[in-house]
Amino acid sequence: MGSAGHGTGQWWAQRVSAVALIPLCLWFVCSLLAMPALDFGAAQTWLALPRNGFLAALLVAVLAYHSYLGTVEVVEDWVHGTAMKLALLLLLRFAYVLIGGASLYAILRVAFGIQVS
């Protein structure tokens, strides 16, 4: 669609990631409420379980993607001036890769039990 042939790409990706986030978010909220405590030991035990680590990694990745698409849309709609718009879009891209990457790395560290003394 459109002359570039992929005009609906972002629209579609936003919906697909939204659908994926429904079960992932509900799982995360239920997990938080079901944790025996919210202290370090309980959180570490919880995230170190393979299933939880895997789902948390998926959640963070899809969340960052969906959030990136949404904030890009907001900037494209509300920010005027090409230079400002480009700068913000670039900043968003860096910020999301940074936050997503750092979160995934943190989950992997807990999953593989790497401890800082």
Partner: protein, 130 residues
């Protein structure tokens, strides 16, 4: 040659207030709030990977009055964005487009989000987590 005068859509201020446009803007605002919440989630995960000391520091920040206020705000933003998002997905499928249905589902999204926020925090309080 002078530019041809083309018809313009009315200025934004001309439109009458309806629940629909507020809910639409609220969807965006909660989305922006949740983008910041993603930063908080990331901060929590990184502090957890950093060990007991850094986790305690992060937990103290989350448990501060400002931290609790932000977390309650994010809880509402999360539930509202989720419910209203489902509403949008239904519209994409061509469901619930009638005026009465839109109003009903809109009010439901707002009130259910408030109720779920209350429920989640009461549950945390009831089980002694906060």
């Amino acid at each position: 040659m002078p530019a041809r005068i083309r018809p313009l859509s009315p200025h934004l201020q001309i439109y009458r207030w309806q629940i629909g446009n507020s809910l639409s803007i609220l969807h965006r605002l909660t989305g922006i709030a949740l983008a910041l919440g993603l930063g908080a989630l990331s901060f929590w995960l990184i502090s957890l990977a950093g060990g007991a000391g850094s986790y305690r520091t992060a937990a103290r920040m989350f448990a501060s009055p400002i931290g609790i206020l932000l977390l309650i705000g994010w809880t509402f933003a999360f539930f509202y964005h989720l419910l209203n998002g489902v509403r949008h997905l239904c519209w994409d499928l061509g469901l619930g487009y009638e005026r009465a249905q839109r109003h009903l589902s809109g009010w439901f999204a707002v009130l259910a989000a408030l109720g779920l926020t209350l429920w989640a925090w009461l549950a945390l309080w009831h089980f002694g987590r906060i």
